[in-house]
Subunit: 425 residues, 2 copies
């Protein structure tokens, strides 16, 4: 039996009862012969309450102090969890990110892990302890200041520790049963995925699936750490995310052609209208955007109208960044050269993800047919080797997701998954 | 202008408004040209709420984890305070006890400071920052674990930092105007003391005065750091505690003969009845008590009754330790040799403190007369060079305090303080 890293999110440790329930599950793993490292998030709404306090004392809190403040949340949950485990007769020690050796850069509020030196964790394990580590936080390499890793940071902490400790698996406990073929709140017949490859999971995460964040999956793939996403409220097997299928008893797991359908309504679309169709124009636009530190998602350039020599360039970005992007472009209008800007925040994105896609051209056609049959109009298209995404009206998103999910045989009561043969059909 | 250390207690930073008010006061000191180090406690009821959570997950939380938990409280208040100061246009950085170099022993929940290495604080100050330090906490020298200093620990943090940084003064901000000649809730006419010597303050603290704790005053005396106890809710001068009177404008401050009257109803009395009056008996009793790690206060041995060769030994101790003391003595009854034990938790202690006492024998007589005039019966007496304490019925305490306060001319509307001449009167 090897070492397992378990991560419990805020909803799993929302109150004293939750903490005691989680403690029992951790002790179970220890009793099964594992060395156990637990990464824990702040309890329930703690982080939101702290943010609220910060806003009351300062409209623009400094990054360093904001991180100092927020890290109090995990300090509380991890100490309580260690106490609860001891109360079950097992020894446990809690460690801050700094004590656990989570070394980051100095970018407060969204620091990146640059090294993990888990000497104290290793010692605690060797002495027979369960080690509890604060998620979401680290210490900066140069200034020794406390940092936080940004949204979903606890998952990244767990995977990084699993890599540094050469863990057998990183278990991510959450309030859902695993990764689904679509958001179960939208698609009632969505199915839990038993196994999914890192690449497909990366595309799902990038396309709006909220269960695992992109950065965490990326980290796991780089160090080849299998992730097991599962519910802390049940004993069910969840979803395995790894490079190759994991054997599950006598049930062989095959790689699906289509992994799932993701959707995202958190983005807006900016269209730069009347751009001269000459080299360097796109570069000027996206240099302006990147100088404003705005992350963009899809980019589409329309075919130039030969008569005018002008074209339109559209891109999508998080709604929260919309104002900033428009301001930056307007400010640089003369430098770039365009007629006007259009901003549209009533869009949605639907993505179909699957490793089988690259060898099955029919997938794309079936995807567009499903959307057409559902009467959904397509505004933008973007593809990768294993993903195809379209932008539609926000109002159409739920209907589009259901239609695509059903057309590809992903519905839970569908007997026949769609099978592609050869290089098309 | 030199360096000042300011300490703000939980009631001063109970909510966002309190934090903003305190921030203004800190900035005021900075504007006056001081280098400012601020030690802050957890907000209002935070610590109690955390203790409550701990009790919900474990009836006997481990010391290490309990300290990890509680230190989240100061982390929140100090980060918020730093944000509030920055919002006023001044630079501030917050530091945990560990970051501030507060090195302690490993006794969790009541660690002692063994060294202070404030290198990071000094750097922050030299760079023009206001340094905010978490009170009540440190890091253990051997294991590098987070520790807490026990009740009143933030005051000790402040004094220890003031000593290590060679501060001009340590200002302790609280919710009262300073140290009074008696508890103002009991004696309406109690007066604020302008200046009091370390020694007198030590005796008052040991006798039940709650404003400053004994350990903090002891530390200040050892390093000769003047303490200024004052209210964070007003601009009034408070009470100076130092080795020699501080000049205050043109008003010379003289050392009073009597500093004040303290009282304490948190103790109980144990009487060991029928102890053989021979060498080694008291030693056996108090070895038993100290082996049980119980701190005792007063000890009185009655005169032996010649006829029996037996005597009684009484001592007082915190009520919370009563059960433990009785159990320890009963268990060792045969080893010690006594007839019976009596336990009485309906007692109170009244103490008169003043440096003038040692050269004025009349003080003792006047003290007893005041108590007798008020009809208060005395059960035990104990004295030091500058203090005289008596134990009475708990019901008599308030009346006794008022009578003594008035008899020694301490009442605020009394024109004439009692004056002693020569070596008595």
């Amino acid at each position: 039996m090897g070492l397992v890293v378990q991560k419990y999110g805020g909803s799993s440790v929302a109150d004293a009862e939750g903490i005691k329930r989680v403690a029992k599950r951790i002790v179970e793993a220890k009793k099964n012969g594992h060395q156990v490292v637990v990464v824990v998030s702040a309890m329930g709404d703690t982080t939101d309450e702290l943010i609220d306090l910060a806003e009351q004392v300062s409209p623009m809190p400094s990054g360093r102090e904001f991180d100092m403040l927020l890290t109090a949340g995990e300090r509380i949950s991890m100490a309580l969890l260690a106490m609860a485990i001891k109360n079950l007769g097992h020894s446990a020690q809690s460690f801050t990110g700094s004590q656990a050796g989570v070394i980051t850069d100095s970018v407060h509020n969204k620091a990146r892990i640059i090294d993990v030196t888990p000497g104290r964790i290793r010692t605690a394990l060797d002495e027979g302890n369960i080690a509890i580590v604060a998620g979401f936080q680290g210490v900066s390499q140069d200034k020794k200041d406390i940092t936080t890793l940004g949204r979903g940071g606890s998952d990244t902490t767990a995977v990084a520790l699993a890599a540094a400790l050469d863990a057998e698996v990183c278990e991510i406990y959450t309030d859902v049963d695993g990764v689904f073929t679509a958001d179960p709140r939208v698609v009632k017949k969505a199915r839990k995925i038993d196994w999914i490859a890192f690449e497909d999971m990366l595309e799902l995460a990038a396309s709006g699936s909220k269960v695992l964040l992109h950065r965490c999956v990326e980290y796991a793939r780089r160090y080849n750490i299998p992730i097991h996403v599962r519910s802390s409220f049940s004993g069910h097997e969840g979803t395995w995310v790894s490079s190759a299928p994991i054997e599950q008893g006598d049930k062989p797991v095959e790689q699906a052609i289509i992994s799932g359908v993701a959707h995202d309504t958190s983005e807006a679309k900016v269209t730069v209208v009347g751009v001269p169709d000459k080299p360097g124009e796109a570069a000027a636009i996206f240099r302006t955007i990147s100088d404003a530190e705005i992350n963009i998602d899809m980019i589409v350039q329309n075919v130039s109208a030969a008569s005018t020599g002008l074209t339109d360039i559209s891109f999508t970005l998080p709604k929260a960044e919309g104002r900033k992007a428009i301001d930056a472009l307007e400010k640089n209008r003369s430098g770039i050269g365009f007629d006007s800007l259009r901003y549209d925040d009533q869009i949605g994105k639907i993505s179909l993800v699957g490793a089988g896609m690259k060898t099955n051209p029919g997938v794309t056609a079936d995807f567009f047919k499903a959307l057409a049959d559902a009467g959904v109009n397509i505004e933008l298209i973007s593809t990768s080797e294993i993903r195809i995404s379209v932008v539609t009206r926000a109002d159409d998103v739920n209907e589009a997701v259901r239609a695509v999910h059903s057309a590809f045989g992903l519905d839970s009561d569908s007997d026949e998954a769609v099978v592609y043969g050869g290089t098309g059909r």
